[in-house]
């Protein structure tokens, strides 16, 4: 008991309509790494937010250093030595590294922030732990890996005894991820405890001392890496045996559908995001684009779908050439687009399923004639999509915001697949949805390929890329490092390319 | 749902009760309160013993308030002072919120059986003419309303602002030491302001050929030109900073802002407008040497007495224009200056001096 650095005892937490945590108990001991494993929606985030004082448990309590505590907020948790690195970095982008690290616990001299002292402490800390960083760099100019380092330093600056890492490797190359796992391992040597949240089985087995698996808000298993295997963990996570590999036939590529030639694009801040990228996608094949996020994938998808202007180069869809972006012209060529951020781009939350089912087709017959919408036709269409793509909803008249992430995604996929498509651009098509929905969407994408569509699949999940693609292009720093055949690809090879290393 | 509606109904009932409770005596209170609005200022006190035939005087302001320290207020004071000379007279006013309501507000007095209706400002000119034509039994007095064709029951009280401005300018021309006089004005969209300005500049040049006149109109639209004292003050200061030592502030709150600003400058003088602003802008006492007046109070009061006597005829009545007393600055105005002013006054009266040549 007294060795427990951080723990939850019989914790339950309810949200309207959901029991997010049900009688959950976990504990972390000094110098150990506890992995919390579970699908999206299994209750990991809720549990972590309770441990960090963001939520209050409805029942049960949190234990810190062997004592029952009633956390009043994150500041309370921080002052008790809990540090957290959030999945979405909690950094203020236009502020400097040193300011971000000391924010909320600033050294003060004569009433003002003592930046010199802050800088001194940050340098001392970063050297002490071997986490080198330029304290005066502006955070938004830093690569993602460095931003994560700032987050870790932020926790260490506050004398954290426990580091909670929420999905820390999603934004890293496999090599960077391995490095991070090494860093965490080293940190535990100094007595630090780490809570490591992930849905990646491989990492769990590689780094954890203890493993807790959550499903539907409950603890469904406690184990250690020695006692289990990847498939064992997967079964615990999902509650049934799962096929980890997607079954697929051999591709039969046809004519070139999408041809991208020396394409250059700028990002929102006017920096070069894609630098003379060239590739092509053929009928009946899936070209996977791998890479650590932020290396130009988003800009690539936006350029190809017409959301972003090209700064130079050309692209051809079928026989038509495009140089300036026009979403509508491109989509009229039979291009479907599953957007990366479904809340931001894919749906309009206050709109009904009806309206969302024609979000980018409302202007066409039969949904409207001479500028007038035909509500009845739209409704029938929506009902068809809901039926065919198994969207769980009480009615098509309810606002889409009431659906779960997986159902929203199925609606989007259904909408995009309801036409004959020549080219499918799928960006992170399974992000943040449950395994059942993932399998469903994967099957549908393969179906489209087999029907002869060309598919450009962009994903940060290397497993997804490796599982679905026929060929794999790796983006690094706005350039394609290489395009490899899926048969010749493996995790290590792609990982090196993702880090920008070529032989 | 039900609990919500219960609450809602309760609220409605509270409101209804309130209405009912006060409503029982609503008729009496309506008349008494309308009287209370007027009795405070009317003459009802003195000759109440003999309830002679009622002589209701109604006043409709231009957009603005009856205590605006400007022409609405002077017309109102004229109405009350006229009423004081008339047995059984009552006065009441309506403040116009929006210029589209002129006709409606006149109609309210007509419905109330008013004997005389005073409308203030040239903006009401048209509405007044229409009402006068439609109601030949009621007398109308239109302040600042020039009558193109005479209507028997409508008297237009008009003023030659240029003469008033000329007199003030003539005094300023003699008082200035720097030979620079400034004017901070409402807007050139309103002709009386232009007349004041032209008269002021010509008057100053009449007594002082070397004088430099610097004048500025408010640059904004009609909706802000008379209500921007900050601009008036800043502009007055700008004129002072480049040597002006007498400033004429003409344009409602905008002009008043100028006067108050000049008051903070040692040795500088200011000139008010419309009526003796000594009484309305006490903040300007340190500088207020005089005001370019048009005597609306006397004009309205005289016309009311004439109306009661049955001698009021249609057409235009020229009200008095003059400059106000010098108050604290009596000693500053020398006998020589006074003589010149008298000379100018006479010249303006007999037409030998034209305040606005061209």
């Amino acid at each position: 008991m007294s060795d427990i650095l951080l723990g939850a005892r019989n914790v339950s937490k309810r949200f309207p309509g959901v029991l997010a945590n049900n009688d959950v108990s976990v504990h972390l001991e000094k110098g150990r790494i506890l992995a919390l494993l579970g699908e999206n929606g299994a209750g990991k985030s809720t549990l972590v937010n309770i441990l960090f004082g963001m939520y209050r448990p409805d029942e049960g309590h949190v234990i810190i250093k062997g004592e029952k505590v009633d956390l009043r907020g994150p500041d309370d948790a921080i002052s008790r030595g809990i540090g957290m690195v959030h999945q979405h970095f909690q950094l203020v982008p236009p502020m400097r590294v040193v300011e971000n690290i000391v924010l909320g616990a600033e050294p003060i001299r004569r009433g003002l922030v003592d930046i010199a002292e802050a800088r001194r402490r940050v340098v001392e800390l970063s050297q002490g732990y071997g986490l080198e960083i330029d304290p005066d760099a502006v955070v938004e100019d830093l690569p993602v890996g460095m931003q994560q380092r700032v987050e870790i330093l932020k926790a260490l600056y506050r004398n954290a005894d426990v580091l909670i890492m929420d999905e820390p490797t999603g934004v890293l190359t496999p090599q960077e991820a391995d490095h991070l796992l090494g860093v965490l391992r080293e940190l535990t040597q100094t007595g630090l405890g780490v809570v490591f949240i992930t849905h990646k089985l491989r990492e769990v087995l590689a780094v954890a001392d203890d493993i807790v698996v959550l499903r539907n808000g409950e603890v469904v298993g406690q184990t250690t890496p020695d006692e289990t295997t990847e498939s064992g963990l997967a079964e615990m996570m999902v509650g049934r045996s799962v096929v980890l590999r997607v079954e697929k036939s051999v591709a039969e590529p046809g004519d070139v559908v999408l041809k991208v030639d020396k394409l250059s694009v700028e990002d929102d801040r006017g920096q070069v995001a894609l630098n003379e990228v060239s590739f092509e996608v053929r009928e009946g094949e899936i070209l996977g684009v791998a890479g650590v996020e932020g290396n130009g994938q988003r800009e690539l998808v936006e350029a190809v779908t017409g959301l972003r202007d090209l700064s130079s180069g050309a692209m051809k869809i079928g026989a038509d050439e495009f140089t300036t972006g026009s979403v509508r012209q491109i989509s009229e060529k039979g291009v479907a687009h599953i957007p990366e951020d479904r809340e931001k781009h894919g749906v309009i939350g206050v709109y009904s399923l009806d309206e969302n089912s024609v979000l980018n087709r409302y202007h066409r017959k039969p949904f409207s004639i001479r500028g007038l919408l035909r509500r009845d036709v739209i409704k029938r269409h929506a009902e068809g999509v809901v039926e065919e793509f198994d969207v769980r909803t009480p009615s098509t008249s309810v606002p889409v915001s009431s659906l779960s992430g997986g159902n929203k995604q199925k609606l989007i996929v259904g909408r995009e697949f309801s036409d004959d498509i020549k080219l499918l651009i799928a960006a992170q098509p399974t992000r943040g949805i449950d395994i059942g929905a993932i399998e469903f969407i994967h099957r549908r994408i393969l179906e489209q390929r087999d029907k002869g569509a060309a598919v450009l699949l962009v994903s940060a999940e290397l497993d997804e890329i490796l599982g679905l693609s026929d060929r794999i292009a790796v983006l690094y720093d706005g350039q394609i490092m290489d395009v490899v055949d899926a048969q010749e690809a493996n995790r290590e090879k792609i990982g090196l390319l993702m880090a920008g290393i070529t032989d | 749902m039900t609990s919500m509606w219960r609450r809602f109904l309760a609220l409605l009932m509270v409101f209804g009760l309130l209405t009912a409770a006060c409503g029982s005596d609503s008729d009496s209170s309506s008349s008494s309160s309308s009287e209370s609005a007027s009795s405070s200022s009317s003459s009802s006190s003195a000759e109440e013993e003999e309830p002679a035939e009622e002589f209701k005087i109604g006043l409709v302001t231009d957009t603005g308030k009856v205590d605006d320290k400007a022409f609405n207020q002077s017309a109102w004071e004229g109405a009350t002072s006229g009423a004081a000379q008339i047995e059984g007279a009552t006065t009441d006013y309506i403040e116009t919120e929006e210029s589209k309501d002129y006709a409606n507000n006149i109609q309210l007095f007509l419905d109330d059986g008013a004997s005389v209706i005073i409308t203030v400002g040239f903006g009401l000119g048209e509405a007044t003419i229409e009402a006068a034509k439609a109601n030949p039994d009621v007398l109308f007095i239109g302040v600042d309303q020039f009558q193109g064709e005479a209507i028997p029951n409508l008297a237009g009280l008009v003023f030659e602002e240029a003469k008033s401005g000329f007199l003030a300018g003539a005094l300023a021309g003699m008082l200035t030491k720097s030979n620079i006089v400034g004017a901070v004005l409402g807007t050139d969209l309103v002709p009386p302001v232009v007349f004041f300005k032209e008269g002021w500049e010509n008057g100053a040049r009449y007594t002082n050929p070397d004088v430099q006149t610097i004048s500025t109109y408010h640059p904004g639209g009609l909706d802000v030109a008379f209500g921007d004292p900050e601009w008036g003050a800043t502009t007055a200061r700008q004129a002072l900073d480049q040597g002006a030592d007498i400033i004429f502030g003409a344009g409602g709150a905008t002009g008043n802002g100028a006067l108050i600003e000049v008051a903070t400058e040692d040795g500088a003088l200011c000139v008010g407008v419309d009526w003796d602003q000594w009484g309305t802008v006490p903040e300007a006492h340190p500088c207020l040497v005089t005001s370019a007046m048009k005597d609306i109070v006397k004009g309205v009061s005289d016309l009311l007495v004439a109306a009661k006597a049955g001698t009021l005829t249609g057409g235009n009545f020229l009200g008095d224009v003059d400059i106000a007393p010098y108050h604290d600055f009596e000693s500053m105005v020398t006998d020589e200056m006074r003589a010149t002013i008298e000379e100018v006054r006479a010249g303006l009266a007999d037409g030998s001096i034209n305040p606005m040549p061209e």
């Binding site: 781009h345 980018n360 919408l373 | 809602f8 639209g221």
Partner: protein, 356 residues
């Protein structure tokens, strides 16, 4: 359906009732009787056919102004420039109204209305176009354009288009030709009917057309609209132009139907009241009509209220502010009325000066 309708109107109705109650307290502080005052207000606004005519006349520009603001709301934009758009609409409608003669009414009146509408559309379109091309925030630009429009229309009325007939010294245009005057049917001005029809058309456009779908999509989620192939910039520019058109039409109806001409300074503040109306109507074009009627009635009756009870007409402004406050913050009313939460209650503009 009726249930949701009840819910929709319960907030504004409650706001009005509470606003009037607080107004009653203010009346008491002025040593007057609320019953007398409100009775006079009601009679002044709806007591006879003249009063009703006045109320409808007052409500007409409020409907147009409210529609202008509400329409822009739908695309997530805030048109605070109704005043300027109304002024240019009023002056150009009057310009066509008096400047051309010899046309039959069926040509002249629509032409004059159109002139006002187009002037308003251009004035609003400037703000929308700048927003779409440079990211200049429409709130700042429309505020500035209000000042510019005030000066411009004053100058037109005082100089090139001034009425030089007779003894006129006022900065105003000549009366419009009879063929450009909007008639009145009994107690109902045709301009009011036009406003009601316009409100219905606005509703139709927003709910039943692809353009309306695009406008609302931009308003709800600009990024998703972009993804759906909607040209967000041009929709924003067009929305502001439509918004300006509505306000300009309001000005045109005012010149052609109420004043008979354009006169400097007589339309002060009319454009701003559209904001109150739109919020009271929760940005619903159909709700704009009753909201405008309510405010129009209060304004039409204010003078009688002062006449009968001595209460200053500014009380109406205070009550309006109170109602606006209560409608904008429905949580206060919910707390008072113990109503359940309804997320659709809050009007959100997605504020900020952002360019995205």
């Amino acid at each position: 359906m009726s249930r949701s309708l009840l819910r929709t109107i319960s907030i504004p109705v409650a706001a009005v009732v509470i606003g009037l109650l607080i107004g009653a307290v203010l009346i008491v502080t002025q040593d007057a009787s609320p019953a007398t005052a409100y009775k006079a207000l009601l009679i002044g606004g709806a007591g006879d056919s003249d009063a009703i005519l006045r109320t409808l006349q007052k409500a007409t520009p409020l409907i147009f102004g409210g529609l202008a603001v509400a329409f822009a709301f739908k695309a997530g934009m805030f048109n605070i420039g109704g005043q300027g758009q109304l002024l240019v609409g009023a002056v150009f409608a009057a310009g066509v109204g008096f400047g051309i003669d010899g046309l039959p009414m069926v040509v002249h009146l629509p032409a004059a209305l159109l002139a006002g509408a187009i002037a308003g559309a251009i004035w609003g379109g400037i703000a929308g176009g700048l927003k779409a091309t440079t990211g200049a925030h429409e709130v700042i630009v429309t505020i500035m354009l209000n000042f510019v429009a005030g000066n411009l229309t004053d100058w037109l009325a005082a100089n090139p288009w001034k009425d030089n007939s007779g003894s006129n010294i006022v900065a105003r245009t000549p009366l419009v030709e009879d063929s450009a005057v909007i008639p009145t049917l009994g107690a109902v001005p045709v301009g009011f009917l036009l406003a009601v029809v316009t409100a219905a058309i606005c509703w139709m456009v927003l709910e039943r057309t692809t353009f309306g779908f695009e406008v609302k999509s931009v308003g709800h989620n600009r990024h998703a609209a972009d993804y759906a192939g909607i040209r967000v910039g041009s929709i924003m520019a067009m929305t502001m132009a439509v918004s300006g058109l509505l306000a300009g039409l309001g000005g045109a109806v005012e010149s052609l139907g109420v004043d008979g001409r354009f006169e400097a300074g007589v339309n002060v503040g009319l454009g701003f009241e559209g904001i109150t109306i739109a919020l009271l109507a929760r940005a619903n074009p159909l709700g704009v009509v009753p909201a405008a009627l309510l405010v129009g009635l209060m304004e039409a009756g204010a003078a009688r209220m002062q006449f009968k009870s001595g209460v200053a007409p500014e009380l109406i402004d205070v009550i309006q502010a109170l109602i606006l406050f209560l409608v904008a913050a429905p949580i206060i009313l919910r707390w008072i009325l113990r109503m359940r939460h309804d997320s659709s209650e809050q009007v959100q503009l997605g504020a900020g000066w952002g360019k995205s």
